[in-house]
């Protein structure tokens, strides 16, 4: 069967619970001893390591939020001396401050294991050629799947994102059998393959697509066009990156790698833990990571947990597809975007200006338009001066978001207001 670590993936449920309890007790002690920022939070919440005697005590621990990450930036949540950490990855923060996450070699190894499980579940073996078309660098997509593919012993093709023509050439010439990228890029590749008549030249059998929301309809379209089975994968930099959970052949949710990440569902408004099967915000606790051992991290992702028997034989809990966010984060071209980031740029630029984000998907590629209301300071009688300001703004936004946005200057009060409140986001994408 398609397992990488069957002893973990198919561990009896009660054994997993016991395993998690042991790991949690040890992890809370590690954090208490090494992360003073979180220790202070525990003291404030009146919890001591001794109060945590099993995984059932998880609810006693205080949450970690994106605000904590910003406050503790850059090294405040590092759980080991710098000499023991070997890697940094990063993702967007809610404002100008990015989120940075750290890894020891042990952390990289367990992350690779998680991704290897995802690849194995999608049918990848030592015999396969895995084309990783996620971005490499600070983004976790490329490094994570790359590491997993190595671990599994598959032949790894580190394409990174973009350069579609080259992607397709290598895909054909090197007979790639497994593709890893964002679902929108997969659909774009599928369409290009169809148009270029390359369908009979590709050898793909499976794809693992994550980092952005997609629907079952989109899954069927990709599967049909590429002649593959398409698997979902979930992860976030704060917890590790891709591989926090992954889909199996049943395609009815993503198995959580519970030996490393304990999941809870909470009511996002009250923080109260909800019973399994409830819809709410998923919260993760890193049970084994050393360098960035976040406990009860609020992901802001809304989904449902389930723990039914799965036809694949795995006993790991499953999380549903994401059903939304409990904040205003958007995922554009696989990149996390917070409207507050744009606001930060505008304020830095001396604008209290009103803005609106218009997101669309053209040719399977997300587009972002930032409409900004002009104010008298930005306006001039010469086109050159106005366009210079527009360009500067576009560069600043690109700098902070990491993606190119079209900046459109509009007249004051041109942005629609409903009940006096500006409509900040118009998402026209159909997924």
């Amino acid at each position: 069967m398609n397992y990488y670590q069957p002893q973990i993936e198919c561990m009896p449920k009660d054994e997993m619970k016991k395993h998690q309890s042991e790991l949690l007790i040890r992890q809370v002690r590690h954090v208490w001893d090494n992360v003073s920022y979180y220790k202070d939070k525990m003291i404030k919440a009146n919890v001591k390591p001794d109060d945590i005697t099993s995984i059932d005590d998880l609810y006693k621990l205080p949450f970690v939020t994106k605000d904590d990450l910003r406050e503790a930036y850059p090294y405040g949540l590092l759980g080991v001396p710098i000499k023991d950490a070997v890697r940094i990855q990063s993702t967007s923060g809610t404002t100008g401050t990015r989120v940075v996450a750290f890894y020891t070699q042990h952390d990289i190894d367990l992350w690779d294991d998680c991704c290897a499980r995802a690849l194995a579940a999608a049918g990848s073996t030592k015999e396969d050629v895995v084309q990783v078309s996620y971005g490499y660098g600070l983004f976790t997509g490329g490094p994570g799947m790359n590491g997993g593919s190595h671990k599994l012993g598959s032949l790894t093709l580190p394409m990174s994102s973009g350069f579609t023509e080259r992607q397709l050439q290598f895909m054909c010439d090197l007979s790639a059998t497994v593709l890893c990228c964002t679902p929108s890029y997969a659909e774009y590749l599928a369409e290009t393959i169809e148009e270029s008549g390359l369908r009979n030249k590709i050898k793909l059998k499976a794809g693992i697509f994550g980092a952005e929301a997609w629907s079952n309809e989109m899954r069927r379209r990709i599967e049909e066009k590429l002649g593959i089975k398409a698997y979902d994968i979930y992860g976030l930099t704060e917890i590790t990156g891709p591989g926090v959970s992954f889909e199996c052949s049943e395609q009815t949710g993503m198995h959580i790698n519970e030996d490393h990440f304990a999941a809870e569902i909470i009511n996002p408004d009250t923080g109260e833990v909800l019973p399994i099967g409830s819809k709410g915000e998923i919260v993760f606790t890193c049970l084994t990571k050393q360098a960035f051992p976040l406990l009860r991290y609020r992901t802001r992702d809304i989904c449902i947990l389930s723990h039914n028997d799965c036809s694949c034989g795995r006993t790991l809990k499953k999380m549903s597809r994401l059903m939304g966010r409990s904040d205003d984060m958007l995922i554009i071209k696989g990149v996390n975007v917070f409207p507050s980031q744009i606001e930060t740029v505008l304020i830095e630029y001396g604008l209290s200006a009103n803005y609106q984000l218009v997101i669309d998907r053209k040719n399977h590629t997300d587009t972002l338009e930032v409409k900004v209301e002009l104010n008298p300071d930005m306006f001039s009688d010469t086109v050159r001066a106005v366009e210079t300001r527009e360009r500067e703004l576009r560069e600043k936004i690109k700098n902070i978001l990491g993606i190119d946005a079209k900046v459109t200057l509009v007249a004051p009060k041109a942005i629609t207001r409903s009940e006096g409140k500006a409509v900040r986001i118009i998402d026209n994408r159909e997924i």
Partner: protein, 143 residues
């Protein structure tokens, strides 16, 4: 001697230019000269009017972004090479022209252009020295 020009931000959407012009018409503002600079996203309507402060306030109250600038209104002989001679004078003096636009008046003998330059004082100095006639606001408004 300069004249006041108003610049109005006009979004590149149907009806936006009309809205600006009707606003001026309703306030009884008479246009003396006009030019529209446009990009793919927006336009800048530049106007010389008979009552700039009235027009400025009216447009502002109607929600338009308006900017006031001092520009030169130059009288040129209505003959071939007339404008070139003016531009030569400014060029020799190192004055940059940001933009220019022509307008017609009832007089047949002369042509008129509006010049937006980067240095009004220098431009006025060199043009006057070369006997080029500049119109005052008063003259322009009463044309």
């Amino acid at each position: 001697m300069t004249v006041e020009q108003l610049s109005v931000f006009v979004e590149n959407r149907p009806g936006k230019l009309l809205e600006a012009l009707e606003t001026l018409g309703d306030a009884n503002v008479d246009l003396r000269a006009l030019s529209l600079a446009d990009t793919s996203d927006f336009g800048i309507l530049r106007i010389i009017v008979d009552s700039p402060s009235n027009a400025f306030n009216t447009l502002g109250e109607a929600g338009f972004l308006v900017k006031s600038n001092d520009v030169l209104a130059v009288v040129i002989g209505d003959k071939p090479g007339g404008l070139a001679a003016i531009v030569r004078i400014l060029s020799d003096a190192g004055v940059n022209i940001e933009y220019t636009y022509a307008f017609v008046a009832h007089s047949r003998d002369n042509a008129y252009v509006i010049l937006r330059v980067d240095d009004n004082d220098e431009a006025i100095k060199v043009l006057s020295k070369n006997d080029v006639t500049l119109l005052s606001s008063k003259e322009l408004y009463s044309m």
